[in-house]
């Protein structure tokens, strides 16, 4: 499993398009920040928070989506799953390794973004306060959790259907919150609310929202974290089962 993780890190670090993607993203962000700084009252030491609220709305889709595609979908494009299984790597280890990898890469990416934002704001003369940076890091942490959870959920489709387009569309729908909204509408219908009220707070978007609120307000979040971990564990279990059931595509 460690060898596989090592190999995957090597693979992604040698994927040139990844550097191009993140380079373009950084350039667009800097340009956006520059243009925004010239508008209205300009930036102050707390402006980074407003920026973070806007930015982290779509980062799990854009950056998380890219990472998901590179880590999960590349295996389908290159039929790498056949190689891995043929080499005797167990399906459980493959699924677990992917979760470790998406967590690792998301941690690096979402860990660096607040630093990039800080540098940009500092250059623009609006260096954030420590408290403001802390708030940005909470947003980044929640984006990390969202990316990992939605990747784990979409993993069921990756391993169960082995259809990359379907997997990518599902990831985007999940991270845009479209599926969550649809389920939420269903859960808030009179019939279901009559039986079990407030179920929508147990959707992944509800869980990450509660984690964010808890971390922001300093409330304990341990129980919500356990709920999050159960969610991911169930997704992993279903992925492994689906992988065992589905024959590898050639």
């Amino acid at each position: 499993m460690f060898n596989y993780i090592k190999g995957e890190i090597y693979r992604l670090l040698n994927k040139k398009s990844m550097y191009i993607f993140f380079g373009i993203f950084a350039a667009v962000y800097i340009l956006f920040a520059l243009v925004n700084s010239r508008m209205g009252d300009g930036y102050n030491s707390k402006s980074i928070i407003d920026h973070a609220y806007e930015l982290f709305m779509f980062l799990p889709v854009v950056l998380g989506g890219y990472l998901f595609g590179s880590l999960y979908n590349d295996d389908l494009t290159s039929k790498n799953l056949t190689t891995l299984v043929g080499y005797g790597l167990s399906k459980l280890k493959i699924v677990l390794s992917k979760l470790v990898l998406i967590t690792l890469f998301s941690a690096v990416v979402f860990g660096l973004i607040p630093l990039v934002m800080t540098a940009v704001f500092a250059i623009l003369g609006a260096a954030p306060t420590a408290a403001a940076l802390g708030t940005v890091y909470i947003k980044a942490f929640v984006a990390l959790l969202t990316t990992v959870a939605f990747s784990a959920l979409t993993g069921i489709v990756v391993y169960g259907l082995q259809r990359k387009t379907f997997a990518m569309v599902l990831y985007v729908l999940l991270s845009f919150g479209i599926i969550s909204q649809l389920i939420s509408m269903l859960l808030n219908s009179d019939i279901i609310r009559g039986i079990a009220p407030n179920l929508d707070k147990h959707l992944m978007t509800g869980i990450t929202d509660r984690i964010e609120q808890g971390l922001t307000s300093g409330q304990p979040v341990i129980l919500i974290f356990i709920e999050y971990i159960i969610y991911v564990a169930v997704a992993l279990t279903l992925s492994v089962l689906a992988f065992h059931k589905k024959e590898l595509e050639f």
Binding site: Y4, L84, V85, L89, E247, L248
Partner: protein
């Protein structure tokens, strides 16, 4: 006695009502270059998929290195190529380095050795820009990585030019002789398989209909003598009266002798002396393809 490297007992794979592989029992011994022969959809790839754990057999047993316990671990002794599948954005060296990491191979010289062996050393372009031949050669390099005792190759010479085919044949023979690598290879190009394989397995509609060694095969595919003259009936009379030959098939002025192949010079002289004009006199051996056709009664491989 040779060690059994791979053995299947009654290996069966069904997809719903369709039986892709039916009770296939195959034995691969150390040092074999085993040619698995069958037409499209005969069950060759399904057999490989079951062996490599890529498809779950409906019934039957697989033994790798004499054991059927912990097949996942045993599969680590097998190199394989079923479709040359690599990351499109990595160059050959990077793709092999990735696989080496996964296999836990730390010897950096191994990648250089393989790239030289398949003549891809120094190639910097990514896999997506490769020709079919280059893809096949990289697939072979990956299968040979770490000198595995068993190598499974599914159609390794598909899409290759004559030089590429010869190169792959030479690599197989070299690795077999030098490292004692045991190969199981499927191919549609039966003449090529005939040049390299030491044993054959013939598969048809999921059934492994026959296993035979190269020597046994060539005993079965005995030679015949083909004669073309200006008067077939007169030639037949000469052969019967002078040589007592009866196993002759006559098609107009063309005669095919199943015996006395070694007497071609004497036969030629006798026919000439009887005033016959001789247009052709040549030995002919049943090819592997003809043998296969005879076995399965089919048209195309």
């Amino acid at each position: 006695m040779k060690q059994t490297m791979l053995k299947t007992h009654g290996l069966t794979k069904k997809y719903g009502q369709f039986t892709a592989l039916n009770q296939a029992s195959l034995t691969l011994e150390q040092g074999d270059i085993y040619g698995l022969v069958g037409r499209n959809g005969a069950g060759k790839t399904t057999f490989f998929k079951c062996v490599m754990g890529l498809a779950k057999p409906t019934a039957g047993e697989i033994e790798i290195g004499g054991s059927s316990a912990n097949l996942n671990e045993a599969r680590q002794q097998i190199g394989f190529m079923i479709n040359a599948a690599f990351f499109p954005y990595l160059n050959p060296k990077q793709n092999l380095e990735y696989l080496a990491m996964i296999k836990g191979i730390t010897d950096k010289g191994e990648i250089e050795r393989l790239l030289k062996l398949v003549q891809l050393d120094g190639v910097k372009k990514p896999f997506k820009a490769f020709s079919m031949g280059m893809k096949q050669r990289l697939g072979l390099a990956a299968a040979l990585m770490g000198r595995p005792p068993i190598v499974v190759l599914d159609e390794p010479i598909n899409g290759l030019d004559p030089q590429g085919i010869a190169d792959i044949r030479n690599i197989l023979q070299l690795e077999n002789e030098k490292n004692g690598t045991t190969f199981i290879v499927s191919s549609h190009i039966l003449s090529e398989l005939d040049l390299v394989a030491t044993r054959f397995g013939f598969i048809e509609q999921g059934n492994l209909v026959k296993e035979i060694s190269h020597t046994e095969l060539h005993e079965h595919t005995k030679k015949a003598l083909v004669i073309e003259v200006d008067d077939g009936q007169k030639a037949l009379a000469v052969l019967q009266s002078k040589f007592g030959i009866t196993d002759v098939s006559v098609d107009g002025n063309k005669l095919v002798l199943e015996s006395n192949v070694e007497k071609s010079n004497v036969i030629a002289r006798a026919l000439f002396n009887e005033g016959l004009e001789l247009f052709r006199l040549s030995p002919q051996e049943t090819t592997l393809e003809e043998y296969f056709m005879g076995l399965v009664g089919g048209q195309n491989v």
